[in-house]
């Protein structure tokens, strides 16, 4: 393999690595900001509405979601912000048109937020009914599931972009 060939293969990896590092820095910069509080409150509100649609009786007050017997505080790590920032970095790094990148980011915003609301709803139910399983469900299962969802979504989006390029 020629030097040029090695460079052409390595460049996408370097670009992705750089984009992911930049995403980590952006996420760090967002932590503690007022904007994150708005996102967290919005997440609590959406989760409360969803729970109430399913028959529960919950209230969202700022970033706190509570019922008569259980309450949770939605912090920055409980939003889809982290995985979404990384997902956006991966979308930005993949060779594609600006339109495709915009579609990808919008897709991530909708899908990852929906999955995250599902996460909060299920954790609220687990915390109410089976509190002994809450830590595992919260920190191991759902944290991993949310990141896996972001990876799978990116793979699906990249596949669509690559297929459109071939056609």
């Amino acid at each position: 393999m020629t030097h040029r060939g090695l460079v052409r293969l390595a460049v996408p990896g370097v670009i992705l690595a750089g984009s992911l590092v930049a995403s980590l820095a952006i996420y760090y910069g967002l932590l503690g900001s007022a904007w994150v509080e708005v996102v967290a409150a919005g997440t609590a509100d959406m989760a409360s509405r969803t729970l109430n649609l399913l028959g529960a009786s919950t209230t969202a007050n700022g970033t706190t979601l509570y019922s008569s017997g259980f309450a949770v505080s939605v912090v920055a790590e409980c939003t889809a912000l982290g995985p979404l920032v990384l997902f956006t970095g991966a979308v930005a790094a993949y060779p594609s048109s600006w339109r495709d990148k915009g579609v990808g980011v919008a897709l991530g915003l909708v899908v990852l937020n929906a999955i995250n609301v599902l996460r909060i709803v299920s954790l609220f139910w687990i915390g109410s009914a089976f509190p002994e399983y809450l830590d595992v469900a919260h920190l191991i299962v759902w944290q991993t599931a949310l990141v896996l969802s972001a990876i799978i979504l990116w793979l699906w989006w990249a596949e669509r972009v690559a297929r459109a390029r071939r056609d």
């Binding site: 393999m1 293969l9 996408p12 992911l20 991966a90 594609s96 048109s97 990141v147």
Partner: protein, 186 residues
């Protein structure tokens, strides 16, 4: 890239692997915490005493500030994530999976030891400096446990897994500027 069938297979395998690995991990978590603390202990400042209390890793620095603890599961999720990715990835052989599990597991353990030791140094640094310093420590830690494993897992998929299962002509290469250029391998 993967194609619809292999992507669906990967997603299904990932869901099943996640449930199995999570259940198995619950039985190993406390021992893992003890191993991390045993190795990280000598790397921490003398003012901080590390200990394990159930799933919590406790940083006791009475001369500096309040007791700090972190949930071990918050660290462990990174190991679970990379294990699930390796187990679920289509197109890899058994030997390749075992090798990657060993490499990523060892790297994960090393990063957890380093992270716990650095957090102990962060506790010493932040003690007596006010809430802004504590915010820096906690936010750096939040990025470390929350997103670094995700970034590593995603990079592994892109740099090591996908090239194995993607035909050369479909791989993205350097020099592409827009979607209208076909990706070609040299």
């Amino acid at each position: 890239m993967l194609g619809g069938t292999r992507l669906s297979t990967f997603a299904f395998r990932a869901a099943v692997s996640l449930l199995i690995v999570s259940v198995l991990w619950v039985g190993l978590a406390d021992d893992y915490n003890r191993a991390v603390v045993a190795v990280a202990g000598p790397l921490t400042p003398a003012k901080v005493t590390l200990s394990v209390l159930g799933q919590f890793i406790v940083f006791d620095a009475p001369d500096i500030g309040p007791l700090v603890s972190l949930r071990g599961f918050a660290l462990h999720y990174g190991l679970v994530l990379v294990a699930v990715l390796v187990l679920a990835a289509v197109g890899l052989g058994v030997v390749s999976r075992v090798v990657w599990l060993a490499i990523l597991g060892a790297a994960g353990f090393a990063s957890h030891v380093a992270g716990v030791a650095l957090l102990a140094w962060g506790v010493v640094w932040a003690g007596g400096r006010g809430t802004d310093a504590w915010s820096v420590v906690y936010n750096v830690y939040a990025v470390f446990w929350g997103l670094v494993p995700a970034a590593i897992g995603g990079f592994w998929c892109f740099a090591f897994w996908l090239p194995r299962v993607t035909p050369p002509r479909e791989r993205p290469t350097g020099g592409e500027g827009s979607a209208n250029q076909a990706s070609t391998a040299p």
